[in-house]
């Protein structure tokens, strides 16, 4: 906010001068004869140019009368060849002709479209008892290796399906398919993250089984995937010890959105300067609820805890589904009883 004339954003500041640029591109400077919060009237004339909505630009100067007061955020009116002109219309802009334009209230979240698709995915997961995870990390944290080992360990007990997100190539899906489970690659092209619509389309094709584990490997990126809900039960952030321990502070959104952090490549700890305790402390600073499991996808260290977490999650989903089914069956039985009672009556 320009404190001199009350124009809104977009001001460019040059030290020592009150030079500023209005959003419509006009630049002007005010005389610095301000006293406190108001102009004193003496010699408070100034000139400025501004552009009107019809494209015309004019420069004018005016003097303030003894009684004229500018307050710090007040718009001011001044004479233009006899016509009153208020700099701040309802839109907060120099916009004469406001009468023909009007305001439409919207109040919708920008991500509402994505959230709608995410809700559809989530409903499908609930109906089918699918435990869906959104795995997020930087490129090179070892996500795909971790997935391959996880799948090898669990595929005899659980039905597993994988959605792979990468900007280009289907290398990762091919790697997953060698483990024998179905995998579908999504190439985001120019995009930097998976969104709920893409995952919904992948679900149509992949058709994961009831009571299965669905692993969604997001694009390697610690920024954008944080904001896009895919309908998953949890986001799992993977941080490897070959990265900096301050990543949770540098990319707080992701670690805040995650429920679990896997600290991967712990077999390399003797060879790197990664400070494990500090990494966990930083991550919990951003997200106090964050669970942490230390693993090595190469040696299998720490995998018992990770696999137990996954199995508990799957069991939870299946129980929830059974409860829903049981309550629906009860409801159907009640309704049938009512119907037969009314038929008899």
């Amino acid at each position: 906010m320009c404190t001199t004339c009350g124009c809104a954003a977009g001001e460019a500041r040059i030290e020592g001068e009150n030079l500023h640029t209005h959003e419509d591109g006009t630049t002007h400077s005010h005389a610095s004869n301000k006293s406190g919060m108001t102009y004193t009237a003496v010699a408070a004339g100034h000139s400025h140019s501004h552009r009107h909505a019809d494209g015309s630009v004019h420069v004018h100067s005016h003097d303030h009368a003894d009684t004229a007061v500018h307050d710090d955020d007040g718009a001011h009116a001044h004479d233009h060849e006899g016509a009153m002109h208020y700099g701040h219309g309802p839109a907060g802009a120099h916009a004469p002709g406001m009468t023909q334009s009007r305001m439409v209230q919207i109040e919708r979240d920008i991500l509402s479209k994505n959230d709608g698709y995410a809700a559809q995915n989530r409903a499908r997961f609930d109906e089918q008892g699918i435990f869906a995870l959104n795995l997020v990390s930087s490129p090179g944290s070892g996500k795909t290796t971790l997935l391959c080992r996880t799948i090898e360990a669990l595929k005899s007990k659980l039905s597993i399906a994988v959605v792979e997100g990468d900007q280009q190539t289907s290398h990762d899906a091919e790697r997953i398919r060698t483990t024998g489970v179905p995998a579908l690659q999504i190439n985001t092209g120019k995009g930097c993250h998976l969104d709920a619509f893409m995952v919904g389309a992948a679900l149509q094709k992949l058709a994961p089984a009831d009571d299965s584990l669905l692993l969604i490997e997001n694009v390697g990126n610690l920024v954008c995937p944080a904001a896009f809900d895919l309908g998953e039960a949890h986001k799992v952030a993977i941080l490897s010890v070959t990265e900096g321990e301050d990543k949770p502070l540098k990319y707080p959104d992701m670690f805040r959105a995650a429920s679990l952090m896997l600290l991967n490549k712990i077999d390399l700890l003797p060879y790197v300067s990664f400070k494990l305790d500090l990494a966990i402390e930083y991550a919990r600073r951003v997200n106090p609820e964050l669970q942490v499991i230390q693993v090595s996808a190469t040696t299998g260290e720490g995998f018992d805890a990770w696999l137990a977490w996954l199995e508990a999650g799957c069991a939870g989903r299946q129980t929830r589904k059974q409860e829903t089914v049981a309550s629906l069956k009860r409801r159907i039985a009640e309704l049938e009883a009512q119907v037969s009672a009314s038929v008899r009556g």
């Binding site: 954003a9 959003e23 309802p90 839109a91 907060g92 802009a93 916009a95 023909q100 334009s101 009007r102 305001m103 439409v104 209230q105 919207i106 109040e107 919708r108 979240d109 920008i110 991500l111 509402s112 479209k113 994505n114 995009g191 930097c192 993250h193 969104d195 920024v223 954008c224 944080a226 904001a227 896009f228 949770p248 502070l249 707080p252 959104d253 805040r256 930083y282 919990r284 600073r285 951003v286 997200n287 106090p288």
Partner: protein, 116 residues
């Protein structure tokens, strides 16, 4: 971060509103007012740039994107005060403690449109 996707999201909302406007239909959008929280990790400048790019050839072509920045606010778990918060991982400005749970300034929403 993903301002291009977000700008497309804004445009979708604007187009939905135009379709839903019925008898009171509008043909052109002059200004789009959006609220962006300080903690939402959206860069307003990048958002404006992307918005200009995605609105070309649409009813919002040339429309101005007015970004209303909403300051961050959080509840400190340490001193139990509601405090202003500049970034997600910042300590409490009142007591220096952690963590501070964000309670405001995470929004990204389309507030209103100026149309004709």
């Amino acid at each position: 971060m993903h301002e291009m996707s977000l700008a497309e999201g804004v445009l979708q909302i604007v187009e939905d509103a135009a379709r839903a406007s019925g008898d009171d239909a509008f043909l052109r959008v002059k200004t789009v007012f959006i609220e962006i929280g300080q903690l939402s990790s959206v860069e307003p400048d990048s958002m404006r740039f992307c918005f200009d790019a995605v609105t070309r050839g649409t009813l919002a072509e040339g429309a101005k994107l007015e970004v209303i920045e909403v300051p961050g606010e959080g509840l400190c778990f340490n001193c139990n005060k509601t405090v202003p918060l500049a970034a997600l991982y910042d300590p409490c400005p009142a007591c220096g403690g952690y963590p501070v749970q964000p309670t405001g300034g995470t929004e990204m929403r389309v507030k209103e449109l100026e149309v004709e």
